[in-house]
Structure formats: C-alpha cells, structure tokens
C-alpha cells in the first residue's frame, strides 16, 4: 500500500464515519459539527485528486460560511427529540423507499461503469498539463467555454437572493432606527439654544 492510498483510506473512513454520525447522533449541534468534519475530509480527498481549487473552495464556502450560519441557527433552537422521533415507524416504509431509490440513482450516475479506469484515462487526456495551476485551468474554462451557463447560474442566484430578501423584509413604521448620515450632519444650533439673560441678584 502506498502512502497516498493510506491517506485516502484514512480520510474515507473519517468521511463515512462522520457522515453516519450526522444522521445518528441525537444532539443537533454535534450533528452539525460532524457535518463540518465530513466536509473537511471530503476536501482532503479532493486534494489527493489534485483538485486543490475545489477542495479549498469547499472548505471556504461550506465550512467557513454556510455551516457557521447553520450552527448559529441550530444553537439557538431547542430541539425536542421526543417529538422528532414520534411516528418513526409510521414513516419508515416511505422513507426507506426514497432512500433505496436515491442510492440506485446515485449508483446509475456514478457507478463503476462511469468511473472505470479506461474512462478516467480517456478524460485525463483533456486534463491540463501538470505545471498549469488547477485554479487557472478552471477559471479559463469557466470564463471562456462555459461563460454563458456560468453567467446564467450567477443571475439565477442573484434573483433568488433578491426574492428571498423581498419576501421576508417588511417595513415597520413603528421601529426606531438611527440614520448615521443625519447624525453626522447635525449642527450644534439644531439641538441647543443659547439664551442670554441678566444675572439675578444674590439672595
């Protein structure tokens, strides 16, 4: 066994173990933390495949931003596990059917037929030369060959962001808020009036 395969098996075991813990552990915060561990191990496996850009972006986006917000929410809610576990047996057949279907679909999409060594060798012909940085190669592809799909995806995401804000934001006339521009512009004479009056005699 070479050093690389040892590293691969190590991270695979950690990835599968933490993914199993995500769905089995009772505490939601710990479950979210195990999901973080799963992301990091997946990133390490991608790193082994020399896909350093994808690996780093996985950590940057999912571990650094998405999961932090996720934890933020999960930490604040008090999950009642007894309620969550109600009707577990009732829903088990439907849930099991969905799970089996999903596993079959995944197997069809990324089965041994698609990932056979001959296919990978055929795909490797298109891979950039070793001295070209992975990030640069991806950037060139995204902004030349695939520029329209890329821009359309970006526009759809932007629309989704604006829609989410528009749906949830409501102007409340009764909230008090500060306008920093007005605070900066304020002059002494707007707030204070100097009154001249004669001194009163000492009593």
């Amino acid at each position: 066994m070479t050093f690389e395969s040892a590293v691969f098996y190590f991270f695979s075991v950690v990835l599968l173990g933490s993914a199993a813990m995500v769905v089995t552990i009772r505490n939601p915060v710990k479950s979210a933390l195990f999901l973080v561990l799963a992301f990091v191990s997946a990133a390490c496996i991608w790193m082994l495949l020399k896909a350093e850009f994808l690996a780093i972006v996985l950590v940057l986006v999912y571990v650094g931003a998405v999961m932090v917000l996720f934890l933020f929410v999960v930490m604040m809610i008090d999950v009642n596990l007894a309620v969550l576990r109600q009707g577990f047996g009732e829903y088990l057949p439907i849930g099991g059917l969905v799970a089996v279907l999903m596993v079959m679909e995944i197997a069809l999409a990324v089965g041994p037929r698609q990932l056979a060594p001959t296919r990978i060798a055929a795909a490797a012909v298109h891979a950039p030369a070793a001295h070209v940085s992975n990030t640069r190669a991806l950037g060139l592809l995204l902004y030349t060959t695939y520029v329209y799909p890329f821009e359309i995806a970006a526009a759809i995401l932007l629309v989704a962001i604006i829609a989410a804000i528009a749906l949830t934001m409501r102007r409340r006339p009764d909230t008090k808020y500060q306008d920093p521009a007005r605070q900066v512009e304020v002059q002494a004479r707007d707030r204070m009036r100097l009154v001249k009056m004669p001194a009163e005699p000492k009593t």
Partner: protein
C-alpha cells in the same frame, strides 16, 4: 562525528527523511511564532501603558522582560475548571479548534523569496479557507460552556466574522487581479523594486478594507464585541481558566501576527526594501519583512488604545453597508481601467 550523522541520515527511508525535514521546518516556524506571541502580549501592555502615561509591567525580571514567562507559567499551573452542565468534550476541544487554523495558515506564508514552508499555487485561497475555520473555536466554546454570556459572545462573533470575511475576500480579489496569481510568493515577487511598486498604492481602498476586516476577524478592539467586558463579562471565554484560556489568547495573538504578515506580503511588498539602493539594501530581506509586520502590529495596539468599542449594529453597518460596497466599486473600477483604458499599467504588476 558529522560523517556518522550523515550516514545515519542516509540510512533512514526517504519518506521519513521528508517527514523529519518538514517537521524541523514546522518547529522552526512555530517556536519563534509562540515566542513572539508571548512578547507581543508584553509589548501590548507596555505600549498601551505608555499611551496612557503609565509604565506598564516592570516587576518581573529586568524592566519587566520576564513578565510573559511568568504569565505563561502561572496559566500552566492553574486548574482547568469545567462548569456544571457544560459539554465536556466540546469544551476542551474548542480552544484547540481556535488555535489550529491560526498555526496551519503559516504553512504558506513566504518570509523571503526562498524561506517558505509550502509554496502552493492556491496559497491565497488556502489562507482564506483556513482562517475562516477559526470561528469554530469561538462558536463551540460559547455553546459548550453552558453560560448565557459565553453564548451571546459566540453568536456575536459568528455574525461578525461571516460579515467581515466577505469584505476581506473581495479585497483579496483586487490583489489577485493586480498580481495575476494566487501564489503568495509570486504576489510578493510582483512588487519588487521600490515602494511605488507595492500594491497598497493602486489598491489603497482595498488595503484599508483588508486591514479593518483583519482587525474585525481577529476579534480585536474596537471590534471585540465577542468578549465585550462591559456587557457580557468576557464573552466566549468567560468560563475558561488555566491553559484552555491561554490557548484562546495564543490563537488571538497568532492570528494578529498572521494578518499582519499577510498585509505585509499582499500590500506592502513582502520582504522588499522601500528603496532599491544602498542603505536600504543593507538590511536583509527577512529583516524588512519582520519590520513591516512589527509596524502593522503596532497599528493594532494603537487602535486598541485609541478607539472605544463599536456598538453591535454599528459593526454590522460598517461591514455590510460600507466595506463591501467599497470593495465592489473598486473591483469594478479596476476591471474597467484594466480592460478599456490606456492606464491599465497602474494596476498591472
């Protein structure tokens, strides 16, 4: 003797040679880093002391120079108290989670053109990704302590770090556009020859945004609401004592030095002297690098001694409504100038 050692070195397998050599390099980075963290706390107390017309610590050793050693020893010997109802495992893991990214990011920082542990192509992204993991230490600590104050501190920290990371990332996009590479060593090399080649001049707004976001990311004053003493006692580390508390401090100061080193590499020409002639070139490259880091660290301390703490809503406003628009506008300006006008040479390096 030397021949014996060389023979011993040759006799061990190649992979363990690589491993030992890398380990030695890591020790050569981490030990001076930890020493500078210890003395940074001392310098901080002294500098703030003088700014407030006090002397600062001057009792332990000559002129107080052994104060950080005494502090460290004291923290080592203190009992680690785990509060009742705390989540013990996570409570102990949290300080480790805080310190680990602060040390890992040093792997790609170039000290001089040859002195770098890992010269990776996506170095800038690596630093961003690793430093973004530092927030877990704070969040987990706040949650695991089973304390209201700690919990509020960690919530504040999570929101603040997510907000300022976006501004920081956009500021680095500007650096990437000007230098044309993600490799930290090449970014510094692109700034060779005199301070007018350094990136802080064409990218001045981004330089300011990066520094401010760096101060906010390291939870330093005036952005230290995560441990705001006046409202939430000590924030996320209120329940920590002894060595676990010390690890949080090590992480905070190691992060400060890291942000300073990155500012020096990305915007201030790394290890290059400000003028490329005689008296300036006498100082070796490493000396210039350390000098720049020290100047930026002094700025950190100066900020802490000068400004009162921001209010929470003011922090959010500054991050989302001021810093992010500034970076977006400047990136747009850069893109326009670089591709549509004859003044592209201002930005290209």
């Amino acid at each position: 003797m030397m021949e014996g050692l060389a023979a011993l070195w040759g006799s061990i397998p190649a992979w363990s040679q690589v491993l030992l050599w890398d380990l030695a390099k890591i020790v050569a980075i981490v030990v001076p880093l930890m020493l500078s963290v210890a003395y940074l706390t001392f310098v901080e107390r002294k500098v703030i002391g003088y700014m407030q017309v006090r002397i600062g610590p001057n009792r332990v050793g000559p002129r107080g120079w052994l104060q950080p050693i005494a502090d460290g020893l004291k923290l080592l010997l203190k009992e680690i108290i785990v509060p009742a109802g705390a989540n013990k495992g996570l409570f102990i893991v949290a300080p480790v989670l805080a310190l680990m990214p602060a040390l890992v990011a040093w792997a790609v920082v170039p000290f001089t053109s040859t002195l770098v542990l890992a010269n990776v192509n996506a170095g800038l992204l690596f630093v961003l990704a690793v430093t973004s993991m530092g927030v877990y230490g704070v969040v987990v600590a706040g949650w695991a302590s089973n304390s209201k104050y700690a919990f509020l501190g960690s919530l504040r920290s999570a929101a603040q770090i997510v907000a300022y990371e976006i501004a920081m990332g956009f500021a680095l996009v500007g650096v990437l556009m000007a230098a044309g590479t993600l490799n930290l060593r090449k970014i510094a090399l692109a700034q060779a020859g005199g301070f007018w080649h350094w990136l802080f001049l064409p990218l001045f707004p981004l330089f300011l945004v990066y520094f401010i976001a760096g101060v906010a990311e390291t939870n330093r004053a005036p952005f230290d609401v995560a441990e705001g003493e006046s409202e939430i006692v000590a924030g996320f580390h209120v329940e920590y004592s002894g060595m676990t508390f010390a690890l949080f401090f090590l992480a905070e100061y190691a992060n400060m030095i890291l942000v300073s080193a990155l500012t020096a590499v990305l915007f201030l020409g790394g290890w290059f002297p400000p003028f490329d002639f005689a008296p300036f070139t006498w100082i070796p490259p490493l000396g210039w690098f350390l000098l720049k880091v020290a100047v930026i660290l002094f700025l950190y301390l100066w900020l802490r001694a000068t400004f009162p703490r921001y209010r929470y809503d003011q922090i959010m406003r500054l991050g989302w409504k001021v810093l992010i628009p500034v970076t977006l506008v400047w990136i747009g300006v850069m893109g326009f100038v670089m591709f549509f006008t004859p003044w592209a040479f201002v930005f290209y390096r």
